[in-house]
């Protein structure tokens, strides 16, 4: 029984060490941004540190265990402490020690596998983006009013002299963003998908870039409806409130007459001119593209 208790203590400490290690690795490798809103990433990193602190205490407890056993024997305590019901801590003799209830081997094994499962998924490295399946299940949002925090974002957009904060930050963090960025070289204006959606609702904001040459990065999705000529697709970005689990795809229609060889959900850089035509009684955003090329995923894949 003492061995089982030791094993469980060891399992717990190792588990915390592993969890702490993996969380901190994700954090320092910059991969938390793949899963979480920036405002939550620091909490998760802090949790990684706390895991390591708890693991330290766990190992320290294992190291001092022999003294505790001696103490228990003096007080006549047994391993099956959980079976003596209802004693009042305040009335107990001072300084006594208790044992933890020890899981059976089967239960310990099951819980261990379950707790290792998320770590195995992290190691596999495959769970880093959504496929088209979830995009279809969630539906692409093309109306800014259907996005969380849309009103707050709209306020930012209205007060901004040119581009939204998210546009600038996305391009700053994108691999293509360096001294030769479009803004620095006087090339096309960098634009975000949500900028175009805001612009649909706000004529004053629309004037900032309507008809000008812009560059937009998004994920390619073929447009299966409302595309009689077959010359349109959607460029989407994932908008998150909290974490990737609540991500909503937001997208604009891109019109590009040339044939494209891009895989679904592949990242593309689109150069073209934004237009805001009335179609089906609604104003919508259409980017008339002159150039579409594949590009690497930006380091910050979400928009907020």
């Amino acid at each position: 029984m003492k061995n089982s208790s030791f094993l469980q203590g060891l399992r717990d400490s190792l588990m915390l060490l592993l969890w702490g290690g993996f969380v901190l690795w994700l954090s320092f490798a910059g991969q938390l941004a793949t899963y979480l809103h920036p405002s939550l990433q620091n909490y998760t990193t802090a949790a990684g540190v706390v895991f390591l602190v708890l693991a330290f205490f766990g190992f320290r407890s294992l190291f001092t265990r022999p003294l505790l056993h001696e103490h228990q024997e003096r007080h006549g305590h047994h391993e099956c402490c959980g079976n003596h019901q209802g004693h009042d801590h305040a009335e107990q003799a001072k300084g006594h020690q208790h044992h933890r209830a020890v899981d059976g081997i089967g239960s310990m094994l099951f819980k261990t596998i379950l707790l290792l499962l998320p770590l195995a998924i992290i190691v596999s490295g495959k769970a880093t983006a959504y496929s088209i399946t979830t995009i279809q299940n969630r539906g692409v949002v093309d109306n800014i009013n259907k996005l969380p925090s849309a009103k707050a974002g709209a306020a930012v957009a209205v007060s901004a002299t040119s581009l939204t904060k998210s546009t600038t930050s996305a391009f700053q963090s994108s691999p293509s963003s360096d001294s030769s960025s479009p803004v620095a070289s006087g090339g096309p204006m960098p634009l975000q998908v949500i900028d175009m959606l805001y612009a649909v609702q706000m004529p004053s904001y629309r004037g900032e870039f309507e008809g000008k040459e812009v560059e937009l990065i998004g994920q390619y999705i073929p447009l299966t409806t409302g595309n009689p000529k077959g010359d349109r697709f959607q460029a989407i970005r994932m908008f998150i409130t909290c974490c990737a689990a609540d991500a909503k795809p937001v997208g604009v229609t891109v019109q590009y007459p040339n044939p494209l060889k891009v895989s679904e959900m592949g990242w593309v850089k689109i150069t073209g001119k934004p237009t805001f035509p009335m179609e089906g009684g609604h104003r919508m955003a259409v980017l008339e593209a002159t150039k579409v090329e594949e590009c690497p995923a930006p380091s910050e894949p979400f928009v907020y």
């Binding site: 717990d12 379950l114 409130t241 974490c243």
Partner: protein, 310 residues
């Protein structure tokens, strides 16, 4: 790996992605709850809890519902805290009231609801959410107080000292006392984390595989709209501090349905359904789920009919 039907499209990689996201988001809060639990165990005197609560059980339940305003804990972190408080002598009815109300009445949630519904009756929605959440939690506490604790709690939960190994004398050094707290926190975290992993898996499965657009046609019918948004809240399992931002975007749905989403979700979603298993019996959890669904649904429907919640 793709299973396709009209409303259920499953992708294993998407499931894994959402699963990890929920885990990484919830971990700090779950861990925070476990740390708080460890500190309570080591530093909160056993008798203090019962001394502080009013002697009248009904008033004690009401006070427990409001505890979340002072001790804000979100729904992920609340379970280890409540487990520890129950072990410390908090009556089960008070524990359940605190557990259900805290994720709704906490100040962060109030502020986020106000911000999210700006321009959509923010004050009305915030007050209704606070009031309805507190009312339902108190009601649940009163009902629970009529039953024996052993029929509600997970077997062995109240058995004292079965999950820690420490010196009660308080005479040890601070490092020893912190080690005791860490030991309890570790056990509580790992105990609850097992249920959290299962709950996160269930929530991920439904949030990625179910076609969420199928509920849109239900928006025009108030009872169906309320039921469907409560179902959506359970499926999405979003943290109560941010769920208002999602509810506010469901523009085609009546406000009563959004209210149901905001009250039901923090009390019972797929993730919580399993997390509660760390403290309560399966029969109780199922009864609680059914009870909350019916009571919140009926109250929101009534508010809708009275035109109080639009």
């Amino acid at each position: 790996m793709l299973l396709i039907t009209a409303w259920f499209h499953f992708s294993f990689s998407d499931f894994q992605y959402a699963f990890l996201s929920i885990l990484l988001e919830g971990l700090p809060f779950l861990l925070g709850g476990a740390i708080l639990s460890g500190l309570l165990e080591e530093f909160l005197p056993q008798a203090l809890m019962t001394q502080l609560l009013p002697k009248n059980p009904r008033i004690a339940i009401i006070v427990s519902g409001l505890l979340g305003v002072i001790f804000p804990v979100c729904e992920c972190g609340i379970v280890p805290v409540v487990r520890r408080l129950l072990k410390k002598g908090l009556p089960v009815s008070c524990g359940i009231t605190y557990m259900l109300a805290a994720p709704i009445v906490n100040p962060l949630v109030i502020l986020s609801t106000l911000a999210a519904f700006r321009g959509q009756g923010a004050w009305e929605m915030t007050i209704l959410r606070f009031g309805l959440g507190l009312t339902v939690a108190i009601l649940a506490g009163w009902i629970v107080s009529c039953f024996a604790p052993f029929s509600i709690l997970r077997p062995g939960l109240l058995a004292p000292d079965n999950d820690h190994e420490h010196n009660h004398s308080g005479s040890g050094g601070m490092l020893d006392r912190l080690q005791n707290a860490a030991s309890v926190a570790t056990r509580d975290f790992l105990d609850v984390a097992v249920y959290f992993v299962i709950g996160a898996a269930a929530a991920s499965l439904f949030s990625t595989a179910v076609n969420q657009e199928i509920i849109l046609p239900l928006a025009a019918n108030p009872p169906l709209a309320i039921v469907s948004l409560m179902g959506l809240a359970a499926v999405l399992s979003v943290c109560s501090t941010t769920d208002a931002f999602i509810a506010a975007t469901l523009t085609t749905f009546p406000m009563a349905a959004k209210l149901a989403f905001l009250v039901f979700g923090p009390m019972l979603d797929f993730k919580l359904l399993f997390l509660y298993g760390a403290a309560f019996s399966k029969r109780f959890i199922l009864s609680l789920a059914l009870g909350l669904f019916v009571v919140i649904g009926l109250l929101c429907w009534r508010l809708s009919a009275l035109n109080l919640a639009w």
